[in-house]
């Protein structure tokens, strides 16, 4: 019996530049490529994952080397050159593949470690595979274990709690001030790239409106269009303050853009609703004294960097814990998989023993005269007991953790000793007619 291997191949953001990743991404959804893979008879089970940071194929097959080439060919042929493909695709097999999948699910392999999105994407990918029935016994269990490993990492470590980029840090701080960012208004002062990046992340949090204030109105209009927001000139800045909740300033101005008294003057009109100001410009745009006002919170780039740095340390500590969990879960899954390998052999052995008993009993019992029901049952029990005792050691040999003999080898030894199906010996039992009469 050939061994089925689990193979994982793919590209991710760590090794492959975006330019190649976007060519390999499965932009047309999962259904088509999953159905295409059905042509490959050698694939027992498979599933696909495609996100903006990675494309991965996971399959179980008895001929991993050949299947690897065929899968790559089928999915990615023509998109990039063969050399390019070979240089960026990583291949993991067996426990390494399992570990990699668990690491991805636990968000340890993400661009922003600890972000929660990947688990949802993984579940979505798996849903397609299971709907099209391309996942089977092994992959179903493997994916479910990946979900539960990710859940363990989430509940047992604080890896998801820390923000490790400036915009994440800003969102995290905003949540501590506002509770939820839903329905809040964001004002961008300056229409630079930094402002755009920060706003992008905020908009993902359910922001109600984005207002862009810029010296040149044209650029403000362009940026505002990206977020379906409004644009305003710099002279309207103070008037706009009354409406905004979160302000991100990133102008190239050499002096201050907003003074303490500007902010103080709008607070009564705001009925003291909190105001969260983020100053990512160097030199600073916002008067540091603004932070002394009640219900106003001002953070400059250094403050945010401190938050990021602090979170990074915290996260690294948590990642160590998370990796332990991944190791543990990988080990558990591999144990299950190995046990799966011996299960068919064990079942066959037991069926063999049972059929021998039954055959012999059927032949012998009618020849003995004067047997009562009770005696008959005792003989049957004795036959079963002999068979079981004979099988006891072979079974233990199969199940036990032998360090010196590989499990595959043990399986094949037992199979050839007992002439189980697939082994090269006559399957019929020696001399059925020569029975002990």
């Amino acid at each position: 019996m050939a061994r089925e291997s689990i193979i994982l191949l793919g590209v991710n953001h760590k090794k492959t530049p975006l330019a190649i990743r976007e060519k390999l991404a499965l932009t047309g959804g999962y259904e088509e490529p999953l159905n295409q893979l059905r042509q490959l008879r050698g694939l027992k089970e498979y599933y696909l994952l495609s996100t903006c940071n990675r494309v991965e194929v996971l399959f179980a097959s008895e001929e991993p080397e050949q299947m690897r080439a065929e899968v790559l060919n089928l999915l990615f042929a023509g998109r990039v050159s063969q050399e390019q493909l070979e240089s960026c695709v990583y291949t993991h097999s067996g426990s390494e593949a399992v570990r990699h999948l668990f690491t991805v699910a636990a968000s340890l392999d993400s661009m922003i470690v600890g972000e929660a999105q990947i688990l949802g994407q993984l579940k979505e990918a798996y849903r397609h595979a299971s709907e099209l029935k391309t996942s089977g016994l092994i992959l179903n269990r493997l994916l479910h274990k990946a979900f539960s490993a990710a859940k363990r990492v989430r509940t047992e470590t604080r890896i998801g709690a820390s923000a490790v980029s400036i915009s994440y840090a800003a969102v995290e701080l905003g949540k501590k001030i506002f509770g939820s960012l839903e329905g809040k208004r964001v004002m961008l002062i300056g229409a630079g790239e930094m402002a755009e990046l920060a706003a992008e992340h905020l908009v993902g949090q359910g922001i109600a409106e984005v207002v862009v204030v810029n010296r040149t109105l044209e650029r403000a209009v362009n940026l505002a269009a990206r977020f379906k927001g409004r644009a305003a000139g710099l002279d309207e800045l103070v008037a706009q303050l009354a409406e905004a909740d979160i302000i991100i300033s990133s102008t190239g101005a050499t002096g201050l853009v907003l003074h303490k008294q500007d902010v103080a003057s709008v607070m009564p009109r705001r009925r003291n609703r909190p105001l969260f100001l983020i100053d990512i410009a160097v030199p600073r745009d916002l008067d540091p004294e603004i932070n002394t006002l009640d219900n106003v919170y001002l953070y400059d780039i250094d403050d945010l960097n401190n938050v990021v740095e602090m979170n990074r340390e915290q996260r690294d500590k948590e990642a160590v814990k998370a990796r332990h969990i991944v190791e543990e879960e990988t080990f558990k899954f591999m144990r299950w998989l190995e046990a799966m390998e011996v299960t068919p052999t064990i079942v066959e052995l037991q069926t063999l023993a049972e059929s021998i008993c039954r055959n012999q009993l059927e032949k012998t019992l009618p020849r003995i005269n004067g047997l009562g029901e009770k005696e008959r049952q005792s003989i049957e029990r004795m036959a079963a007991a002999i068979a079981n005792k004979l099988l006891h050691h072979p079974l233990r040999y199969l199940k036990a953790e032998h360090e010196c003999v590989d499990r595959q080898e043990r399986i094949s030894v037992v199979r050839s000793l007992f002439c189980l199906s697939g082994e090269s010996c006559s399957n019929s039992l020696p001399d059925q007619s020569d029975d002990a009469s």
């Binding site: 501590k176 001030i177 939820s180 219900n295």
Partner: protein, 271 residues
Amino acid sequence: MSHLLFQLSLAAYLAAAAVYTVFFIRQKKTLHTVARVIFCVAAGLHTVNIAARYVEAEHTPITSIHEIISFFAWSLACCYLSFRWRYAVKNFGSFAVLLITILMLAATAAPQAILPLPPELRTWLLPVHASISIVAYAFLSLAAIGGLMYLIQERQLKQKHFGFFYHRLPSLEALDNLNQHCIGIGFLLMTLGMSIGTVWAFQLGGHRGLGWHTKIISAMITWLLYAGLMHHRFVQGWRGRRAALLTVLAFAAVLLTFWLLLMKGVADYGA
């Protein structure tokens, strides 16, 4: 019987406070569930204790120091439970249960014997006045706890120092909402309690009217403080740090009133 129930509920509160404290430090979800279950059991036992004492004493058990403090703790537990289903204020329970447990310990220190009620206090107005006022104080205490949490969290955010409390305390918004909710209900009940108390005082003293007991003056000042806070909050849009600070200060006045009440005793009027 009621004594045994009191001891049992005290033990359960102590256990809940211990688990809540560990939960606050470790932030493990399972601990939270355990703590909540223990706390609910404690509150249940406490309810039965008060009911049993009512039966034994044949009057509402809000007459001795022990009874008043115990009833206060019980009201706090109920108020906390009443809105914890509506608002999820992160880690608020750890603080609330701690206060309840401290009150329970204080109640243990007071003599627990059931005293016969002097005839002049045998009126249905006393339990109504006392229970409404105490429930009002319970809400105001919760507001003060929330205010204290607000002040800590606000300080962390202002000073950009993100220590132990930053991760464990909820958002400023949640705490401010809690403050508004608790002060609103607490103030309403306090006003109601005081009105009933006034009616009762007139009934008792007849022509003497309210008189100017220190307790009454203190209660008036407390009421004015909260009235001012309510006014500023709803009319001038006061919120955040100032509202939280005033809530904590006003609560000090509540404690003073409460202390005067306990020292002078309810029998004060009878004399």
